[in-house]
């Protein structure tokens, strides 16, 4: 059991979770993730480590409420216990002295990218951070990121930022404006990572992405997280999650990520209804059912 130290809604849909997990905090490095279960009955889901405090024994993750498990997490509060919070899992991100590194993040990736930017900065790189948000009210951790960046940009569909660019438009604008990047890292939803790779491909900038296929065990046993990179099958949980974005088979990844969509919707509805009407008869009972008909009373 791991105690939750803090759970907070950062911006619409995105929550931060700080958990007391000294073993994870002691060992984790940028790019790694944890497997989390909000309750014993639910699913295990992978979340990227966004920050840690080795002294306090605390690990921070940011997550987006997109389905049953993340909704459950969003209902938890400080003091609650998580039955599963295991890690650190996955290979560490490659941190070296590359020169100028473009670091791009969106939604939960804004947090996930943070330790990588920090490590790159500490390793002596010039860190150019680009955050994508739909609107100003979705931007979080700006201070934390500015601290570890040499320059900081936002792409958004909001008048406040004077731009309607999506991430690849902004990357193109930066490159056209003279930015010489030696490396790029992108973390966020699959579409954001894909778009970032499209923008860096022409310039030949090696771009690392943290793939997020559906994972079950996170330890290389189940094969759920298979993805194709450079024509080879990889298990994202043990071979990654970081891969060369220009070698990823994106089409396959997109389709695999939505293969359980139907069940996910049912699960979310079911869970929500069970909260709504606990103890009210569910829809899964077989015999015998109450009938709507008159009672056939002999001799009546």
């Amino acid at each position: 059991m791991n105690k939750i130290l803090r759970r907070e809604r950062l911006v619409p849909n995105i929550h931060v979770l700080e958990v007391h997990a000294p073993e994870v905090a002691a060992k984790c490095v940028p790019g790694q993730f944890v497997m989390v279960m909000p309750d014993e009955k639910g699913e295990r889901i992978p979340l990227t480590i966004g920050d840690w405090d080795r002294e306090k024994g605390a690990v921070t993750v940011a997550f987006m409420a997109v389905g049953t498990t993340t909704h459950k997490l969003a209902l938890m509060s400080a003091g609650d216990e998580l039955p599963v919070f295991v890690g650190p899992l996955g290979k560490p991100s490659e941190i070296g002295k590359f020169g100028t590194v473009l670091v791009a993040g969106g939604c939960f990736g804004i947090a996930a990218i943070h330790p990588i930017a920090r490590a790159l900065k500490e390793a002596g790189n010039t860190v150019v951070t680009l955050i994508d948000v739909k609107a100003n009210y979705l931007l979080y951790w700006e201070d934390k990121l500015r601290k570890v960046s040499d320059s900081f940009f936002v792409s958004a569909r909001d008048h406040k930022f004077g731009t309607t660019h999506y991430v690849q438009g902004k990357i193109k604008e930066l490159l056209d404006g003279g930015l010489k990047a030696d490396r790029a890292v992108a973390i966020g939803c699959t579409y954001l990572m894909y778009s970032a790779c499209e923008a860096t491909r022409a310039a030949g900038i090696k771009t690392t992405v943290a793939l997020n296929p559906i994972m079950v065990d996170g330890t290389g046993m189940c094969g759920a997280c298979r993805c194709a990179v450079g024509g080879k099958t990889k298990f994202a949980c043990v071979d990654g999650p970081d891969f060369d974005g220009h070698a990823v088979d994106w089409t396959e990844l997109f389709s695999r990520r939505k293969s359980y969509l139907d069940d996910e919707m049912k699960s979310l509805c079911h869970w929500e209804r069970s909260l709504l009407a606990p103890g009210v008869s569910g829809a899964s009972v077989a015999l015998p059912l109450s009938t709507g008909g008159a009672q056939l009373a002999p001799g009546a």
């Binding site: 209902l75 979705l138 009407a277 056939l296 009546a300």
Partner: protein, 790 residues
């Protein structure tokens, strides 16, 4: 009068607004707050036009034509005005996706994000790709919003049943509030706060359940954004197909548009126009999906083998059932649900007569209103239609919670109330009705006949003898000779002043409509009550509108009355069963059978596993209503077709098919139907559905909306013999003690499945109404978005 719109001259009535007049001539002016069933509101300012000789840009939705008026609906100035208005509306609405260049590709890849707790753009939104606001943005060509985006940060309300309310998406068009007040009379929601703080909500921020919401879904259906979204469907893609069905739950028979996604029912919404004119109720709007796809469905034929039910092929099951039934022909009873289509009931009735030798199909719901009316010879011109309801001047509801049992009949009654009609309630009522009543007459259980007699007597005493020339008047008068208003009132549990008040109102006139239903018929001596009410209607010139209980009560009655000897009643069947005269029973309707009563053979034909299946010898899976096509006859006699929306679950088959297959195997001729259409053709040829039915004819009944029918108004306006209810001096008479209490859940079933069993949301609603508890104390999903830290 003549007006000119965009240079073309049109003849208009002057009663429609400029917006409606233009629309009627094919000119579609952009609009958001306008809705055809609601009074003009003129809040969104999108429908602005130019009118020659007037300053500025008046909204066309509340401007009425004047002779020679010249209107321009489209110009560069108007377009830019509308764009600016829409941009302002969008500044407080998640607008990123609306203006994003990635819109289409992103949409394709972000399907799972739709399940998000909060909507930060169209890709997250339940309305995506079926959104009126999205369409308007496209149409007006808005591609940027020159204001900083604002998120209101209101908690998404998820703790009410059926639908979720996210007022962060609300554009304050007011349609939901207005439909709730103007059309449904529920007034559960309203605008709270003013100015920039304005938001739709409930008084004291209560849950919708606590605020008296009926969960009719009218607000969900008129909302142009994703603010109000049906819980079960909101994450899903837009429907792939739609078909028109008729709701199987009550006698109104609302037209429904059933949305289908991947071969399953996604949702059902009231169809525009038709009998229900865009309205439905909680059952039709929100429970169909749960019912049709209930895990309690029987999917395969089963027969008893070694004391246990085992799944077998149709052939084996039919042969087995046919053998068992044939061996007991003449000693078999047959019941059928009045929620089956006419086609099914007709074939089942024939099957009963011609193969089982049991004299036809007994309705499993027991005695219906129509049986009582016809038994008492009460047919003809006294009976009214739903369409006559909005024109009424006085409406009296006799002990029936109409807004609960027949909510769409209530909508029509409320329309009259809005126009100034008096609403008088005697006895049972529910939520919105009580609020709008000008007089509520108290009633003890079982006291309704006494009340009716008291009112008749009070009217006679007043000397309102307008009915003196009607046949039977003298006998009627005589039957009330010994009656005493105050004693009858006391027996009824009503105040004498109220009884006299009701009599005064009826003497006052205006078209009068009486509504009554299952509660009157459910009394120990139903015929007496119905006859008394009939006489009161004849006496006052009122129109009677019997609220038939089930979707095909009238169809069942018509089919049974076509034969010279009608099928045995439920009580007759019970009696034979008790006496041991029956050896076999065929149940095609829900029935509680607590014991086996010496039966040797029991066949259950149903869509759901029910208690009777536990000791059935054969269980034959029937298609649910949306899985087959057929016709219902509703409470005003309209014959209406319900289309098939999805294929039958598992191996289930339409009811008519099962009965015909058995009849064939039992050697009965004339059962080689291939489809429901052939059966309907036979019904039409024999004129079965066009007989004069009690309760389904009457002067001024408009031509039915569906196919066929007609139900001409035969029968005379005359008093019928009616005895006075037993005198009771004080306290409860034995009659009172036996009388059933009005049951809220009486109409909450489809065949043998209780709707509350299928839908936990409905169970929650019904339970909290019963116990008065606002909401079960639980942590709800609402907290997910309850802003900030905790």
């Amino acid at each position: 009068m003549k007006i000119i719109i965009d240079g073309r001259s049109f003849e208009v009535s002057g009663e429609e607004t400029v917006l409606e007049a233009a629309k009627a001539h094919g000119i579609d002016i952009p609009a958001l707050c306008h809705h055809p069933r609601l009074a003009p509101w003129a809040a969104c300012r999108l429908c602005v036009v130019e009118i020659k000789g007037r300053n500025g840009y008046p909204p066309s939705c509340n401007t009425y034509p004047e002779e020679g008026m010249e209107v321009v609906t489209d110009s560069e100035a108007l377009r830019s005005q509308r764009r600016r208005t829409l941009e302002l509306i969008l500044s407080e609405h998640p607008n990123a996706c609306l203006v994003c260049t990635e819109k289409e590709r992103c949409d394709e890849h972000k399907a799972s994000i739709r399940k998000s707790a909060e909507v930060a753009g169209c890709v997250f939104c339940p309305s995506n790709r079926r959104c009126e606001l999205q369409k308007l943005v496209d149409r007006l060509g808005v591609d940027s919003v020159p204001y900083d985006s604002v998120y209101r940060g209101l908690p998404v309300r998820r703790s009410d049943p059926f639908f979720i309310q996210d007022y962060n998406l609300c554009i304050l068009c007011g349609r939901c509030v207005r439909v709730c007040h103007e059309v449904r009379g529920a007034a559960a929601i309203s605008f709270v706060f003013r100015g920039s703080q304005a938001v739709v909500g409930t008084q004291f921020d209560r849950s919708l359940i606590a605020a008296g919401c009926q969960f009719c879904g009218a607000c969900v259906d008129v909302c142009p954004t994703g603010s109000l979204a049906e819980r079960l469907a909101r994450h899903e893609e837009p429907a792939e197909a739609k078909s028109r069905a008729v709701c199987p739950y009550c006698g109104v028979g609302c037209g429904l548009e059933v949305s289908v996604l991947q071969g399953r029912i996604q949702s059902a919404a009231p169809a525009d126009g038709g009998i229900n004119r865009g309205q439905a109720c909680v059952r039709g709007r929100f429970t169909l999906r749960d019912v049709v796809h209930s895990p309690a469905r029987v999917l395969k034929p089963m027969i008893k083998k070694d004391g246990k039910l085992a799944e077998v092929s149709w052939d084996e099951a039919l042969d087995f059932a046919a053998r068992g039934l044939k061996a007991r022909a003449g000693k078999t009873g047959l019941t059928a649900s009045s929620q089956l289509f006419c086609e099914d009931l007709f074939v089942l009735d024939r099957f009963g007569r011609e193969a089982l030798g049991c004299g036809g199909a007994t309705p499993s719901a027991g005695v219906s209103i129509l049986d009582e009316l016809s038994a008492g010879g009460m047919t003809g011109r006294v009976l009214g239609s739903l369409k006559s309801l909005p024109e009424a001047g006085t409406i009296v509801v006799f002990d029936e919670p109409v807004s609960l049992t027949h909510p769409v009949a209530w909508v029509s009654a409320f329309e009259a109330v809005r126009k100034g009609a008096k609403l008088i309630l005697a006895g049972a009522a529910s939520g919105p009705m009580s609020r709008h009543a000008s007089l509520c007459v108290g009633l003890k259980p079982g006291g309704l006949p006494h009340l009716i007699a008291a009112v008749s007597k009070a009217l006679l005493e007043k000397g309102c003898a307008g009915a003196a020339s009607v046949p039977g008047f003298e006998a009627f008068k005589k039957s009330l000779e010994s009656a005493c208003v105050s004693r009858l009132a006391e027996a009824a549990g009503a105040a004498e002043a109220d009884v006299r008040g009701l009599a005064d109102a009826l003497a006052g006139g205006g078209p009068i409509v009486f509504l009554f239903g299952g509660n009157l018929v459910g009394l120990p001596r139903p015929l007496q009550g119905v006859a008394l009410l009939w006489n009161l209607a004849v006496q006052t010139g009122a129109t009677l509108l019997p609220l038939a209980e089930e979707s095909d009560t009238a169809g069942s009655w018509l089919i049974r009355s076509r034969a010279k000897s009608p099928a045995p009643s439920l009580s007759a069947l019970s009696e034979s069963l008790g006496k041991g005269d029956l050896k076999a029973l065929y149940l095609a309707g829900p029935m509680t059978l607590p014991e086996k009563h010496g039966l040797e053979f029991l066949v259950v034909q149903d869509s759901f596993l029910n208690a009777a299946c536990a000791w059935a010898d054969a269980v034959l899976p029937a298609a649910a209503f949306a899985e087959a096509e057929g016709h219902f006859v509703n409470l005003e006699g309209s014959v209406r077709k319900s289309e098939r929306a999805v294929p039958p679950a598992g191996e289930s088959k339409p009811d008519w098919w099962i009965a015909s297959e058995l009849a064939k195997r039992m050697g009965a001729p004339g059962f080689s139907y291939e489809n429901a259409g052939q059966i309907k053709a036979q019904l039409d040829k024999e004129g079965v559905l066009a007989l004069p039915a009690p309760g389904v004819s009457g002067a001024g009944v408009p031509p039915p909306v569906g196919t066929g029918s007609g139900l001409p108004a035969e029968g005379k306006k005359a008093f019928v013999p009616a005895s006075l209810p037993a005198p009771c001096v004080s306290g409860d008479s034995p009659e009172h003690a036996e009388a059933p209490v009005s049951g809220e859940q009486g109409s909450d079933h489809y065949r043998s499945l209780s709707l509350c069993h299928a839908s936990p949301d409905l169970a929650l609603l019904r339970r909290s109404r019963r116990t008065g508890e606002a909401r079960p104390a639980a942590k709800t999903a609402e907290t997910v978005t309850a802003g900030g830290r905790q």
